[in-house]
Symmetry: C2
Subunit: 453 residues, 2 copies
């Protein structure tokens, strides 16, 4: 499963049977005017081309073949609760999260990528949520799990506390939709490595409805001194001893919470079951999984995962530290690398935009390599520090085309081009690449990843 | 799996190990004032009671038992992509959708209920989405599936069309969060049958982010005469020949769409893969699964599933037909029937509210059997024809208590009491029961379903 090839995406080749394409073509040819007709006409061209290549023949009236109903229209199907916890269709078996063999030395300290090219809307199904483990994942017994609140000294937190999961789940909770992105997402693109699909370029990105207890409430209960204690250390229970510094101002904003729920159910084991920290807008490594301890302190902790890893190597050789916020970014997921356009004509360009600073304000799309831009439609509700789905109607004329998206957030920040980003950050970073992604649609319909620099 | 007992819910008994409850109790006892302290004090009482019954002893300093880390803090865990499509924790195996044996004569024409008592937020995980089949479910090959648009006569629709899934998925799409509720949800409660858990009282309810093509666009493309054609017939491809009439005004509102996506991925087979109709606010039976045909007509079709089934038997013996909109409704999911409160003290009462007419405006909660009501907090974003999560802080004093929720929507409609609803509708209906649900918390903490009439 883990070594099977990446999926070809949703723009499958048309099946060579049944559809009365000549009739439909005729229908489309009667198009009139306006946007609906723009779609109709553009679509008609595509379908005509498809029909020609597939050599579809309309069945004659009374052809016995079309009078035979498929089995599912005649027979008795499967009973309810065939599966008390259902699974996707067998026809969707290629929609999987996938590792990138060779990216890391071990599969326990590694990544699997979410298949963004196959997803719709903004919710990531929990079964396809990207993974990033530092010492493998565990299915931790929630009855044994504890969350401890402490201070770096006795005055920093008056009442050290230990919570069971049952105790946490009795407290007031919030449910919020947020994206989570690994700081290393799109990391390969810093150099001239153009990995083939958006699953690998941008797939360390997922979005869920998380549920949990506001951390502010827990710190209030424990009597944290947030005047002196301007930082928190978050520590995970797995063997990687993951520890990250969280600025107290993020907690005071009310946005940070300790989460047990994800997309309506308990967190998945790979995502930190039974408890993880949710730090909206901040890179995934700070969303500490298997969360077991929070310590209030008066300075950043400079732990191994913020001193050696998750730092940005700048052109002058210095490392930038604590650059934790995921800046505004977007990617076109359809069409995207590895997909094949069936034929020329109408397509709905669709993609995702997000910002760790707030709401997505605008997404522009270019179909000429960045020379001109058109505003995309944003699908509501547009939520803060959450994915936003955008789309744009497009007619492909069959010629090679460079397509790009560029997002801006409500702080006024605009996603940079690769060239702009490299001018400031160089090419030797791993982390925090939020440059505009470019896909090349070739004349044969194949889509590939190219870098414009 | 299908016959295992219903889950006990999330309010598990406290484990009898580790927690330094005496220390935590002391910590809580130092509470001061304000809402945080209300929670702290209330919670402290509960934990003290829990500690007493569990006879917890704080480990002595240096006790070797607490120096031994659990295996997951020492060892190497499982690799990434252990599962290309992940599953819930083994500790969540009791969270399942469940049938109600005996409710129907066959398991192919039956129901499985979503475990609302175990869910958070508003998204229903697709693996736990309720099921309602009329002749079993199928995993239909999307490459073979077609959607046909026709008219009841040649003038009703100028250009009959047949779409493949690939063609539909190339068109402009929308993604929207909506609830879906079976018209028969809470049907057993019309009489004096009080089924034990909210999984069975209200579990024919789910909520997803659906993605698909606005039906208005398809009808425009096909040249439907929506002046004469004020109705649509929606037909499914499974053996039940499900057919339902959809008023054209719902389509014209722009809200109705043909959906292929659910919570980010393709629909699940049990929920109509690869295509179903989404009719926000309307009972689930009209969200025709395995959607294969839409016909434009000039009058309601009075099909078997709207003439014999899904009609309301009124006190005077008449049947009410086409009462398809799901009126405003709510239910407390925590605490709810079948759960056991650990002990007295603080709880966060939590539940779901929804309306087929628009947005939930307000939810009131009563903890005295309806004599007095307090406004609950609504978790945003509050979306139209979508579930809304509500919550209220509550301190249980250990005495028998009746708890209820009552929702109102933005049309001004207020959810009726059982008494009010029965006064108009009698007691012999199956469908469209949106009465206030009452749970009894007994002195021993057990919660059960009771009817106040």
């Amino acid at each position: 499963m883990a070594s099977s090839p990446p999926p070809a995406g949703r723009l499958r080749k048309a099946p060579e049977n049944f559809v009365d394409a000549s009739g439909v073509r005729q229908v489309f040819a009667e198009a009139k005017s306006g946007r609906r007709d723009f779609i109709r006409q553009a679509f008609a061209g595509a379908m005509a081309a498809g029909a020609a290549s597939a050599a579809v023949a309309a069945p004659a009236d009374g052809d016995p073949a079309i009078l035979t109903l498929p089995e599912h229209s005649r027979g008795l199907g499967k009973p309810v609760a065939t599966d008390g916890y259902g699974r996707p269709s067998r026809f969707e078996a290629n929609v999987q999260r996938r590792p990138s063999p060779g990216l890391t030395q071990t599969a326990q300290s590694s990544v699997s990528f979410a298949p963004l090219q196959s997803l719709f809307g903004i919710v990531t199904p929990s079964g396809l949520h990207f993974e990033r483990h530092h010492q493998g994942w565990w299915d931790v017994d929630p009855a044994q799990h504890r969350l401890m609140l402490t201070g770096s000294d006795a005055k920093m937190l008056k009442r050290p506390m230990v919570f069971t999961m049952d105790e946490l789940m009795r407290l007031p909770s919030v449910s919020r939709f947020h994206f989570i992105e690994c700081g290393a997402n799109s990391g390969m693109e810093w150099g001239n490595v153009a990995v083939p699909t958006c699953q690998y370029t941008h797939g360390m990105l997922s979005c869920s409805e998380f549920t949990g207890v506001p951390l502010k409430l827990l710190l209030d209960m424990a009597g944290a001194d947030t005047k002196r204690g301007r930082y928190l250390l978050a520590e995970g229970a797995d063997g990687s001893s993951m520890t990250r510094t969280i600025p107290m101002e993020l907690v005071e904003s009310g946005e940070v919470f300790v989460a047990y729920g994800q997309n309506g159910e308990m967190l998945r084991p790979e995502n930190g079951y039974p408890l993880r920290l949710v730090v909206p807008g901040v890179q995934g490594v700070s969303w500490v999984k298997y969360l077991r301890r929070l310590e209030v302190g008066d300075q950043p902790y400079a732990t191994k995962d913020e001193a050696i890893h998750y730092v940005d190597l700048l052109p002058d050789g210095q490392h930038r530290q604590y650059s934790s916020t995921q800046e505004c970014k977007s990617v076109i997921t359809t069409p995207s690398g590895g997909q094949v356009l069936l034929d020329q004509g109408f397509y709905s360009i669709s993609g995702l935009a997000w910002s760790g600073r707030g709401k997505v304000q605008k997404v522009d799309v270019s179909v000429d390599g960045g020379r001109s831009w058109k505003p995309a439609r944003l699908q509501g509700p547009v939520m803060s520090k959450c994915l936003t789905r955008f789309s744009l109607d497009w007619v492909w004329d069959g010629k090679p085309t460079l397509i790009q998206s560029r997002a801006a957030d409500d702080t006024g920040y605009v996603q940079p081009s690769t060239k702009q980003l490299r001018a400031v950050r160089g090419t030797r970073s791993i982390y925090h690449n939020n440059a505009v992604q470019t896909w090349l649609v070739q004349a044969n319909g194949e889509v590939s990843n190219v870098q414009l620099s």
